[in-house]
């Protein structure tokens, strides 16, 4: 993958410089340009606008009120003994997440010595020989970080939750769910998940309505502000606000022995609320904010978060302008550009309008009363304008982590969950899962396998997809949904969806 770092503002670029920029984007590496990998403590300046190439085009990161020196900034400085910083797993080039490709690149560049591969959670298990590549296979192949959850379940404040299920380990290929130190009997359950993007945060924190219809309660209140929580921050919703998320991450991923100071938290939160990322240009289709399209990170930065697409601006209507490109505008495009833009516009419509039967999916078909099955489209859940996450807390079980829907993974632990009270509404009394998901936060059998929907922005920069890296590429996402719900997409519709997702 060519590496390009540009700290120049596109809208200030003169034509001659644009030619140079194009050359850089094509694959040349600037002699003095910093590497695309942000190592902790480098002290770079984070520019107001930052572009990185990826396989599908160019991702742009916008920093409101940037540029910002990162020297001494707690998001960018190694705070704990393992040498990591927040930025280690939330890389600007990867839409503030971490691609498996970047992890592999760092392994090759550092011989596996990068702090990313810290034994604690950057390997399949700390008990494995750390110098061996195979001990980090989950991170290198699927971008997975080990997440350790307490058992029995505890709330964010350490208060115990009495689970209504028991959990046993069926298979432990990595050794982190058995033995004297790991596993349910030792009070520690290891699951493996993708880092979620730390960008476009105002959307993830937005609260559209006062209720969580999936749980049947009003939204829980933020313990710090007393305001309703969005429930959309973490895969298992274990942290309802950024303070709790930061402290969780600092104590685990950074292995900090001390708590973050209030000033460090303030600085991290300030940065996270100012950073916006999205694909800015497609290699095939060109810039996403031309010929009537209105996508890209600037739109994200400038829009109001938390709007429900079905009663306001339809999801991905940013590309409506590409449905009918005028003849005059079409003349300015290559045939490939025109065809790609038309495909993206069709993909947006397929996303909104292609109906299919959603079945046996907790969070949709139960306990909320939509019925099982219910006919709807992708925007049923991916309903927030501009972002495609859920306006309500998005804990839904697509089956990506739970049998029989999940793909077989011999290298992931498999748990047997037994519901002690009411059976799960779809799986029954006994459930086999690679990751119980939200149930490890709520303690409820009905929540096994639920994973919080996340942002759909910057996808081209951060493969693989789904919480356990099930889909290695964008086509893999579409294929999973097709397998799961027998949607009946045509080949054209599949490609249109892939093209749409490639420019988000």
């Amino acid at each position: 993958m060519p590496t390009v770092f540009k700290s120049i503002r596109f809208h200030h670029v003169l034509p001659a410089i644009a030619v140079l920029t194009l050359a850089l984007s094509a694959g040349a590496r600037g002699g003095d340009a910093p590497d695309r990998w942000w190592a902790p403590g480098e002290g770079r300046v984070f520019p107001a606008e930052l572009d990185y190439d990826n396989a599908n085009g160019t991702l742009r990161a916008l920093l409101v009120d940037g540029p910002m020196p990162t020297k001494g900034h707690p998001f960018f400085e190694p705070l704990g003994p393992n040498g990591r910083a927040c930025v280690t797993c939330h890389q600007p080039a990867d839409a503030m997440s971490l691609s498996a490709e970047s992890a592999r690149r760092q392994w090759e560049r550092t011989g596996g010595k990068d702090p990313l591969f810290a034994a604690y959670d950057g390997s399949n298990c700390p008990t494995l020989p750390q110098a061996e590549r195979a001990s980090h296979s989950l991170l290198l192949e699927r971008g997975l970080i080990r997440i350790e959850r307490p058992w029995p379940v505890r709330q964010f404040n350490g208060q115990p939750v009495t689970p209504d299920f028991s959990i046993e380990v069926v298979r432990d290929p990595n050794g982190c769910n058995s033995g004297p130190r790991y596993g349910p009997a030792a009070g520690r359950i290891s699951v493996y998940r993708r880092p979620r993007p730390v960008a476009n945060m105002k959307y993830l924190l937005a609260v559209g309505f006062p209720y969580d219809p999936k749980q049947g309660y009003a939204l829980p209140l933020d313990p710090d502000t007393g305001k309703p929580e969005s429930g959309n921050l973490m895969a298992d919703n274990r942290a309802g606000n950024l303070r709790i998320q930061m402290e969780d991450a600092a104590a685990s991923h950074l292995q900090m022995l001390r708590r973050l100071t209030p000033e460090q938290r303030r600085q991290i939160e300030d940065f996270e609320l100012r950073i916006f990322t999205a694909q800015q240009a497609s290699k095939t289709g060109g810039a996403v904010n031309t010929t009537g399209a209105r996508a890209g990170p600037a739109r994200l930065r400038d829009s109001q978060p938390g709007a429900l697409g079905s009663i306001g601006e339809p999801v991905w209507s940013e590309f409506t302008g590409w449905e009918k490109i005028s003849t005059e505008e079409a003349r300015s495009l290559t045939p490939e550009q025109l065809a790609f833009r038309q495909s993206v516009a069709r993909g947006a419509r397929v996303f909104r309008e292609k109906m299919f039967l959603i079945t046996d999916t907790a969070g949709i078909n139960s306990r909320i009363g939509f019925g099982n099955p219910v006919r709807n489209s992708c925007v049923f859940c991916h309903n927030m304008s501009q972002m495609g996450n859920d306006v309500a807390p998005g804990q839904v079980d697509l089956g990506t982590t739970t049998l029989p829907f999940a793909d077989p993974w011999a290298d992931l632990p498999l748990f047997k969950v037994t519901c002690l009270k009411a059976p799960h509404p779809h799986y029954g009394r006994v459930i086999y899962t690679y990751d119980p998901g939200f149930a490890l936060t709520s303690g409820r059998c009905a929540d096994v396998g639920k994973i919080t929907l996340q942002s759909m922005r910057g996808l081209s920069a951060r493969a693989p997809y789904f919480s356990n890296g099930l889909a290695k590429d964008l086509r893999g996402i579409v294929d999973y949904y097709e397998r799961r719900y027998s949607i009946g997409y045509t080949e054209q519709e599949k490609q249109d969806l892939v093209n749409l997702m490639s420019v988000l």
Binding site: Y211, L221, F370
Partner: protein, 260 residues
């Protein structure tokens, strides 16, 4: 608010002969059945839900229930025969109607659309505005008042686009009225009744569970408000309008009483 408890005897007498005359508009029907999904497609949420009353042999369209069936489980159907034509789904329409999901398993059954269009989805009357829309402050004077909230049979789950709307209205009033405390009483229909040849009754503990569920929601919506809970079994029907004239629905409720 008008609240009248209706004698249980009235309910039994009224319900007993209904199935034989079920085709008359406004008649009440109550039965248990395995639901049938008809795969109509007029856009989102447009599939039809059908249920057959075994005693009368009549197939009903129960799609208008605020909480819809699960094709893997039996449903308790409670509804009134509508004068609407059966054109959307191909069966006699019940409206208002409730379909409570029971624990007993059913074989899945899906019918093709067979030429029926289903119903194009429209937002129900009972849907709340986003938080960004200011609520209209209800006028005073304010005095003790009770707000009912309703549940599926055997369930304490807050019903989307029904209970959230009822609670939103109640909370808007409570915020304006500043009562001293709230008393939430959960009710459960624990008296056994015979439906489709089966005796059904809600468990006694459900009354307290319903009260606790609504109280928790109120504590989240009204931080600092004193919320007490009570439980009452043997719930009787009421004629509260938001139960839509369905006695069984009116029994399965919680009441939020604002005390000054």
């Amino acid at each position: 608010m008008k609240r009248t408890a209706i004698a249980a005897g009235w309910f039994v007498v009224l319900a007993a002969p209904l199935s034989a005359q079920a085709q008359q508009a406004g008649e009440l029907v109550r039965f248990i059945a395995c639901p049938v999904y008809r795969d109509t497609d007029s856009g989102r949420k447009s599939g039809c839900w059908l249920a057959d009353d075994r005693e009368s042999g009549i197939r009903y369209d129960v799609s208008q229930s605020p909480y819809k069936p699960d094709w893997n489980r039996e449903v308790l159907v409670e509804g009134r025969v509508s004068a609407d034509p059966p054109t959307p789904c191909g069966a006699t329409v019940l409206e208002p109607v409730r379909t409570s999901r029971l624990d007993t398993p059913c074989p899945r059954h899906m019918l093709p659309a067979e030429g029926y269009a289903g119903r194009r989805y429209k937002l129900p009357r009972r849907n709340i505005d986003p938080l960004s829309v200011p609520r209209k402050v209800p006028p005073g004077p304010y005095a003790e008042r009770t707000f009912p909230v309703y549940f599926e049979f055997g369930n304490d789950f807050l019903v989307y686009q029904y209970d959230d709307w009822l609670i939103d209205n109640a909370v808007t009033w409570i915020r304006a009225a500043h009562p001293r405390k709230l008393v939430v009483t959960g009710f459960a229909a624990t008296d056994p009744t015979s439906v489709s040849g089966r005796t059904i009754a809600e468990p006694a503990g459900l009354a307290a569970a319903r009260a606790a569920s609504i109280a928790e929601t109120l504590r989240r919506l009204l931080p600092g408000m004193i919320v007490e809970t009570r439980a009452q079994t043997g719930a009787l029907p009421t004629d509260e309008p938001e139960a839509d004239g369905l006695p069984g629905q009116s029994q399965r409720r919680a009441e939020i009483r604002a005390v000054f």
